[in-house]
């Protein structure tokens, strides 16, 4: 930090050694004392440790009497000048003042100042120099012929002031040293009605610049950076937490069978044990009569689970429609070829179907029916990913919207699972979307029941809301969770300004005309009927 200005004035203060409750400290009026303010005429020779303020009581470092400089300095330093011994030993920092008249003596002064505890810096001046500004730092005057080593040896800042100023201060320093021969102190003490025990000394403060503004800028940048990092970290952390929670939730729902993994675009594979549980038979052509020797030729390696055993005990050959294996396209040889029959009654060479189920898919290659019921949890699959969570959420929303539309239009007596399956088939045929919900129609599973329930709620809430308010937007959130969710969704879309989807627009248009022949009540009723018939 470089010094911008230097202010030297007279300070009156109580003796810190007396340990008074309220130490007195006051600047003595200039009219009776002395002040020298110097702005812009200071050179910073060394900036060591110049942190914070550089200020302190002024003194002249004591040179060794054996030092040749001691005598040399007599020309510039009055004998009754303020020495370190004239200053209180505690509570204050000190600034040294030294004439710079030769390199050797400057070194002596630097060393002498170094010995002072509580030194805040050293002020030097070139005596007998009348210029108003000390020479620049690059000037040869400041060269101590040691390659700048003195700067690292002396861990305090060194400032140079104009020679004229230095001489004045040096002269004043003799007036305020507390010695009997410095009468000014006594005058001031009596004039200002101060305690005779008080000190009156010269005090110097430096105004620093440049360096002080830079750290604040850095601190500001660092704070901004820290805040940004904190926000990023917090966002990332909460996002991770949220995604993790969603993954866990989906995992749980998969385990309970509420969500069908195959609908998530995941390829499931069947473990070897589950494949072994699929029954094998000797192939018998469709037209021939079932023979009594139709018992499993290859008893499964493991005892089949009860459900599989029940299904395989009566193989219905009339359901075997294929004379060839769909994978290798070879014909089955009647009464000779061993075939594996999947629950959908499609048959294959075990050598063909097993690797397929093991490595590729859990669906029948012909009809894409499930090979193993989900309840058995007999799948190997990758861990649940965020993509799966997103996919499942989208699929659920689409299903909900579809349910809503159907309930609102009311008249199409489509059944839940069936119609979604039909939609899915349509989409698949167009190849535009991935399988969204190819729910297999294997009886009312929990997911289907849940689906109907969800549809029921989703539909009844807007209808109810509209019945009460007669407008599409309620202003206060409803109390029921599902109604609140619906209300939130509508509010959000209103805020975002999203165009309502076709089904929503249709729903609202319908709802706005309650005198239409299909009153909301009947809609709800028919929906319940739907749900009941479905369950």
């Amino acid at each position: 930090m470089t010094a911008q200005s230097v202010d030297t004035f007279v300070l009156a203060f109580s003796d810190p050694a007396l340990n008074e409750a309220e130490p007195q400290r006051a600047r003595v009026n200039v009219s009776v004392s002395f002040e020298l303010f110097n702005n812009n005429h200071v050179q910073t020779l060394s900036t060591n440790q110049a942190g914070g303020d550089v200020e302190g009581l002024l003194f002249v470092p004591d040179l060794d009497t054996s030092d040749s400089c001691f005598n040399a300095s007599m020309r510039y330093v009055p004998s009754n000048v303020t020495r370190i011994g004239d200053l209180p030993t505690e509570q204050y920092y000190y600034l040294g003042l030294a004439p710079w008249f030769s390199a050797a003596c400057t070194k002596s002064y630097l060393a002498a100042a170094r010995r002072v505890a509580g030194l805040d810096g050293l002020i030097v001046y070139i005596p007998n120099n009348s210029t108003g500004t000390p020479p620049p730092i690059s000037d040869g005057t400041w060269n101590l012929n040691d390659g700048g080593q003195w700067k690292s040896e002396n861990k305090y800042p060194v400032y140079a002031i104009p020679g004229v100023d230095g001489a004045i201060i040096m002269e004043q320093l003799a007036q305020y040293s507390g010695n009997a021969s410095s009468p000014k102190e006594q005058n001031i003490l009596t004039q200002e009605q101060l305690d005779p025990m008080d000190y009156v000394r010269i005090y110097t403060t430096f105004g620093l610049n440049g360096g002080s503004s830079l750290p604040t800028l850095w601190a500001f940048l660092l704070i901004v950076l820290a805040i940004v990092l904190f926000i990023i970290g917090l966002t990332s952390l909460s996002m991770h937490y949220y995604q993790r929670r969603n993954r866990r939730a989906l995992e749980r729902r998969i385990q309970t069978g509420e969500v069908d993994l195959e609908t998530l675009g995941t390829r499931l594979r069947v473990p070897q044990e589950a494949i072994n549980n699929l029954p094998t038979f000797i192939y018998v052509p469709n037209e021939s009569k079932p023979m009594d020797t139709n018992k499993p030729v290859q008893p499964p390696l493991q005892a089949p689970s009860e459900s599989v055993a029940a299904a395989s005990s009566t193989p219905d050959h009339t359901l075997w429609e294929q004379p060839t294996c769909p994978i290798c396209l070879d014909d089955f040889i009647p009464h000779e070829t061993t075939v594996r029959s999947l629950p959908c009654h499609h048959i294959y060479h075990p050598a063909c179907i097993d690797p397929f189920l093991l490595d590729n898919s859990s669906l029948c290659p012909v009809c894409k029916a499930k090979v193993v019921p989900q309840e058995q949890n007999a799948y190997t699959y990758e861990p649940v990913t965020n993509a799966m969570v997103r996919y499942e959420r989208r699929a659920r929303r689409m299903r909900l919207a579809r349910e809503m539309r159907r309930a609102q239009t009311g008249r199409f007596g489509m059944q839940g699972g069936e119609s979604s399956g039909r939609f899915a088939n349509l989409r698949r045929a167009c190849g535009r979307d991935r399988r969204i919900s190819s729910a297999p129609s294997a009886g009312p599973t929990t997911s289907q029941i849940e689906m109907v329930e969800v549809g029921n709620r989703a539909v009844s809430s807007p209808v109810a809301a509209l019945n009460h308010e007669g407008s599409a937007m309620q202003t206060r959130p409803p109390t029921d969770t599902n109604m609140r969710r619906e209300w939130m969704r509508r509010r959000m879309s209103a805020l975002v300004g999203r165009q309502p989807t076709i089904e929503e627009a249709e729903a609202e248009r319908q709802a706005r005309m309650p005198r239409c022949e299909s009153s909301p009540k009947t809609v709800v009723h028919s929906l319940e009927a739907n749900a009941n018939s479905h369950v």
């Binding site: 994978i327 396209l329 690797p355 290659p365 012909v366 698949r428």
Partner: protein, 154 residues
Amino acid sequence: MATAQRRITKEYADIQKKPLDGMRISLPSEADIHQWQILIDGPRGSPYEGGVFNLHLSLPTEYPFKPPTLSFKTKIYHPNVTNDDKGSMCLGMLRADEWKPSSKVEAVLSFAQGLLLEPQPDDAVEGGIAREYKENKKEFVKNAKAWTKQYAKK
């Protein structure tokens, strides 16, 4: 993969025994049965009539568990074929999650032929051509005929 080799050989033999109408199938290299070359005549009644289209069918080693890929080597003005060096054809049944191992190459090729006769603009890969097909069929037919004449000469 022995299964793949056997099945492809069988399918190739079947298809040579009972060739599809308007199609000539050959193997560019006898050593590699996974790469097929197909020459399809532009179906009668379509703007591609009179042209011969060179297609390349690549059967993966995991076939029939993984779907084959079909690409046009001859440039064609069609909403369902990419207009680039690859000439990839968008067939729903060839998508990884739609593919069934029981589907045969024969069905794939028939489907491709059908697509020449009747493009599916709703399932297009070339949006511009699809729009033209839907909104300005006359212009589409003109362009398709011009391309056929230029690139798919017999």
